[in-house]
């Protein structure tokens, strides 16, 4: 078990926020149209997330490690291992799907998945401190990039594109809330990494919630007033936002977006592997990475036969069990032992 490696609140915040931004870059317009329902949905989803993560925040405030509290229980370790292997597989699958649809000439899905898997395994083997330092740098780069893409956009913002909420928007909003909650990894990651924290994880957790709300709301607003319904054509709004930004110096912001997103995938994937192997020996990390990559590739080819809706509910259930109920139970158990 890796107990010596410690990371600061800022670094934890960077890891958490990057793992969330990873999915924001992937949100597709086949499911959602930008506008007020998404802005409201994000607000409600963040409020729900804030409630869900309270036990995880309290747990991390005490500097406990879930694995130590549970007496190195194999069940707990396996549960977290399976969860992180699954979300790592989802990351691989999403990455391959995106590359395959947008840059189909690049490489076959197998080559793309294996390359990503190897890069993530390497990052995970470098240890949590290396990952955290990388996340700090990448976080600044991603924020600068998104701000540049928005401010340097060639499109003229039209505030009229932001129409008021209508009754017919209810379903879109609800779907978005569920989608947002299903990609919410924060409580589980906070619990899994709490043993590696120098200080309490409360600051990082609260900072994550606030920054996520402002950042994603800002992005939805920018996409709405600059691109509006046009995003239904290129499908990936953030990529389209980048494609619409053009300067004499940087001709293609979407390629820069792709570059940083790829780095984000590698780094976040590495963090998932690190959490999934519970900081154990490197061979476990490698094993989790290999299994995750294989599952991601199988998911891409539809081998599991799971539909998106079922996956979404499984993700939400797993977040509640491992991110809310598990830290709550661990705290009660420890209190009972005293």
């Amino acid at each position: 078990m890796e107990t010596k490696a410690k990371i600061g609140s800022g670094q934890l915040f960077a890891i958490l926020i990057l793992s969330r931004i990873l999915y924001t870059m992937l949100y597709r317009t086949e499911s959602f149209s930008s506008g007020t329902p998404l802005l409201l949905g994000q607000l409600i989803a963040t409020a729900i997330e804030a409630v869900i993560c309270i036990p995880a925040l309290m747990f991390s405030a005490k500097g406990m490690s879930i694995f130590e509290v549970c007496g190195k229980s194999k069940i707990v370790g396996t549960a977290y291992g399976v969860y992180f292997t699954w979300i790592f597989a989802t990351t691989v699958c999403d990455f391959v799907r995106f590359i395959h649809s947008e840059f189909s000439q690049v490489a076959t899905p197998i080559v793309t998945a294996i390359t990503l898997g190897l890069a993530c395994i390497y990052c995970a083997c470098m240890g949590i401190e290396g990952l955290a330092r990388g996340a700090g740098v990448l976080f600044v780069c991603v924020v600068l990039l998104v701000c540049s893409m928005t401010l340097l956009s060639d499109g003229s913002p039209n505030v009229l594109y932001l129409q008021p909420y209508a009754e017919s928007d209810g379903k879109t909003m609800l779907d978005y809330i569920l989608e947002d909650l299903s990609v919410n990894r924060m409580p589980v990651m906070l619990v899994a990494l709490s043993g590696n924290l120098r200080k309490s994880g409360v600051k990082a957790g609260v900072g994550y919630l606030l920054f996520k709300l402002i950042f994603i709301e800002g992005l939805i607003y920018a996409v709405t007033v600059i691109l509006w319904r046009y995003v239904n054509i290129p499908s990936y709004p953030i990529q389209a936002l980048g494609a619409y930004a053009k300067t004499d110096l940087v001709r293609r912001f979407d390629s820069l977006n792709m570059f940083f997103w790829t780095l984000n995938c590698v780094l976040t994937g590495g963090a998932y592997l690190r959490c999934g192997s519970s900081g154990s020996e490197k061979r476990y990390t490698v094993a989790v990475g290999v299994v995750g990559t294989a599952c991601g590739l199988a998911k891409f080819y539809g081998a599991f036969g799971l539909d998106e809706s079922l996956c979404m509910w499984l993700n939400i259930a797993a977040t509640v069990i491992l991110g809310t109920l598990a830290p709550l139970a661990a705290q009660l158990y420890k209190r009972g032992n005293r």
Partner: protein
Amino acid sequence: MKKFIAPILCLIMLTGCVKSAKNISLRLMIYAIGIDRDESGYTVSYQVFSPTGENISSPVNADETNVKVISVTGDTIYECERLAELQSGRELFTQDAEAIVLGDGIGDGDIYEILGYFEGSPDVYMGTDVICASGSAKEAVGVGISGLSDPHGFGEMIDEAIAQATAISPRLAQISNRIVSSGSFILPIMKIAYDDDGNPYAEGVFDGVLYANGKYSGVVDSDTVKGIRLLDGTAKTVPISFELTGEAVGAECRALKIKRRVYTSESGTAVISVEIKGELQPYDIRKKSNAELLVTSAENEIKRLCDQALETALQYNADLFDASLLLGKHGYEYKGMDAVQFEVKIALQLH
């Protein structure tokens, strides 16, 4: 050894262009795409970068325009693209295309097919301007060489027309959104004229082709376009001409601040109130001596431009001012242009 793995992996992962990467000399750099349509199908004309140096490795001769036109005919635009590649032996690079020029033979159905093709193409920049030509697109694309100093002239001409409010921004993404919101849009017209020797040259971009509710509805003049820009609140500077005590006066309405709001009239209909404030700068400063009359005449001219635009919008029941979005934002239901009242207030100050 481990330290080398990360950069190597990055190199592998980030070399998405390896397979499609081509030497620049094997790319056909497109500046403008002209599209004509007749019984034989589409004729697509590409204004392309063609360096006039002695050979492929010699420097570009900056004294020349370094552009030429390649024209191909096919049943679809896609087929034309492939034919152009076969003809030139190079791959088309359309990311830097400044304009898509439509010839005057483009019909109702064709325009949506053309726009749909370019909207869906990942190789076309979504900020590319779509304009109409007063003649054939092939000629218009060629005019870019003989009538303009450099091949980037299309973008500059359109930007100038937008700045002077004689054109509405014709970017591909914006037109696409107008089609979704109201189905009505105006494409600027590039006017082609001929010199004494019969050579074509570009007069500029003004007037516009109106597509009202998805149908070609004729040509509207620059005054109508100026009125639309005033009513939709996007005009910043509007050059105007009017008569003052029997003499023609040219002036510019600058630093326009246009406020639009919606309220319900006593009769229960929605009223869009447009308040236009700005500075008036006459080109002949001697006219400033009669300041009050000058301002009143200019305000009347602005009012006339707005009335003309409203008349066109009502004639075709075309929402040219984002009225449906404005009403929707304030909780009103849009029921057609004839169900909307406009109230225009103008207040100019002499600069």
